[in-house]
């Protein structure tokens, strides 16, 4: 079972790279949704069945795979944007940076003092790699909506790390974190709408210029 989990984690890391390489917003929203669904399946593979587990799985797939992507694509439709134009760093350099970060996270995970049963699994490197990819997306993309996606990827990374502790993690904490995220996405959606209405663009780099009426 942990073998299958490893393959899924490799898929998660590949989705990270896809997200760094693509220029289409709708595509990256779908990618992040797929990543969420994979993360929802993962707990079921590494822990024995329980109702707590089934609840977590259903909740994760619903929130990360359906609700949040739905909100984001709604915001995309309202703000009428189709693709990210010229990120701060080009697509190939970010892709390479993402690959370097993934390699570094493997190297870093080797150094961490992990519990012996977690040593050989891909969870820790995958979580650090996903976290760093989220940072990269947050910092290199111009559009507010891409930054929201970066934020989501980052949260996915944290979630992968948390998977190692699912046993110890009470449902309430899990639900609280998800609720936070949902509210965050909600607020971001509203903010994006406002930005696009006020500035007729959601390019965040334009927010630095002063606007005088």
């Amino acid at each position: 079972m942990s073998l299958l989990a490893d393959q899924l984690l490799v898929l998660v890391m590949l989705i990270n790279l896809v997200m760094l390489g693509t220029s289409r917003l709708i595509f990256s929203i779908r990618a992040v949704a797929v990543q969420g669904v994979i993360l929802g399946i993962l707990p079921g593979l590494i822990h024995p069945f329980s109702f707590h587990l089934a609840g977590i799985t259903a909740g994760i797939i619903l929130a990360k795979g359906i609700v949040i992507p739905y909100f984001i694509s709604n915001a995309v439709r309202k703000a009428q944007i189709r693709r990210e134009v010229e990120p701060f760093i080009g697509y190939v350099p970010t892709l390479l940076l993402g690959a370097v970060f993934t390699a570094l996270s493997f190297a870093f995970a080797e150094k961490l003092p992990l519990a012996p049963e977690h040593k050989d699994l891909l969870f820790v490197p995958a979580s650090i790699a996903t976290l760093l990819t989220g940072f990269l997306l947050l910092t290199t993309r111009r559009k507010a909506i891409s930054q929201v996606i970066g934020y989501l990827v980052m949260e996915n990374g944290i979630f992968v790390f948390g998977l190692l502790l699912t046993e110890a993690m009470p449902v309430m904490v899990e639900a609280g974190a998800l609720l936070d995220l949902l509210v965050g996405i909600f607020v971001m959606g509203i903010v994006i709408n406002h930005i696009s209405r006020e500035f007729s663009s959601i390019d965040t780099s334009r927010l630095q210029t002063l606007k005088e009426e």
């Binding site: 490893d6 393959q7 490799v10 898929l11 890391m13 590949l14 790279l17 390489g21 697509y91 190939v92 892709l95 390479l96 993402g98 690959a99 993934t102 390699a103 493997f106």
Partner: protein, 302 residues
């Protein structure tokens, strides 16, 4: 001994059929009848019977180009194992020779193109070397990963090492390797997402533009060399992607032939359903392939 004879016979006679199969697949997708399967053979025979025209401005380099290209590819095809049988020539470290035989053949193709003095062919040569220098790391990462898996640096061992058990144990990295190898196969052979072998629209072509000045037998050699290169890289791909060994020598040959024909059909399907990429997107895809193979190596090294 029989295996070596079959190896040489298959490698020498089989490659143009792959082009025929690809053409037929594309025709089937377009709803046409298409040229017969053996059309590439007829084309080659026709070209070898023709006379050649050499421009006065060209030197011996231009004439050496096709010959060196073909001979380098022929040597490369003696180095790889076909259908789970050891290659006729193999020694420790031959994977470096294998990779750079392609480098040598490319060098001579481009230098022959530059020798004509046509600005047009120079442009094609520039594109070819740009893309191939992005494709080379992928080939190396893939070979290194396989070498690491099989703990050997001989191509015969490396490429016959993958078995269904390897796929179960390291499925993720094998899948990444197969993906990267397929991209390399298409890029190195100038197939569709990268270059259209049928196009004669000047500004978009890469490989085709470099051989515009060749005619007659020289052009036949180039066409045959291209088919052989497709066959060689296809054989590498099949060895990794479909690691089935029955133990019976003849059955293995049959499986290999069927697999490589299936690969040709797959290439035909890819060419039918995909459009050519814009030139600026090509490096992106090649870098993506490099990352895939590097990632596979990381997973294996861990």
């Amino acid at each position: 001994m029989t295996d070596i004879i079959i190896h040489c016979a298959v490698a020498l006679l089989f490659p143009p059929l792959l082009l025929g199969v690809i053409g037929k697949t594309k025709a089937a997708f377009a709803g046409r009848v298409g040229a017969p399967y053996f059309q590439p053979y007829y084309d080659l025979i026709k070209l070898f019977r023709k006379g050649s025209v050499f421009s006065e401005t060209t030197t011996w380099v231009f004439r050496a180009g096709p010959v060196v290209t073909l001979s380098a590819t022929l040597i490369a095809c003696l180095l790889i194992p076909l259908g789970r049988h050891a290659a006729p020539i193999s020694f420790s470290g031959d994977l470096i020779l294998f990779a750079y035989l392609f480098g040598l053949s490319r060098f001579f193709t481009t230098i022959a193109a530059l020798d004509t003095g046509s600005s047009f062919e120079g442009m094609g040569a520039a594109r070819e070397v740009t893309f191939s220098c992005l494709a080379e790391p992928t080939l190396f990462f893939t070979l290194i990963t396989l070498a690491r898996m099989s703990k050997s640096i001989t191509l015969s061992t490396i490429l016959t090492h993958p078995t269904p058990a390897t796929w179960f144990a390291a499925g993720a990295s094998m899948l990444l390797l197969v993906g990267a190898l397929f991209i390399i196969l298409l890029a190195e052979n100038c197939r569709i997402p990268f270059d259209d072998p049928n196009t004669h629209l000047e500004l978009t072509m890469i490989h085709e533009v470099m051989v515009l000045d060749h005619s007659g037998p020289a052009f036949g050699i180039i066409l045959y060399g291209a088919a052989l290169k497709l066959f060689v890289l296809g054989a590498v791909f099949v060895n990794v992607a479909l690691p089935i060994a029955t133990g019976n020598a003849l059955a293995d040959w049959a499986i290999f032939i069927v697999a490589i024909l299936a690969l040709a059909v797959t290439i035909g399907i890819v060419e039918s359903v995909m459009a050519r990429l814009r030139l600026v997107r090509i490096p992106q895809l090649l870098v993506g392939a490099t990352i895939l193979s590097a990632f596979a190596m990381m997973l294996v090294l861990r």
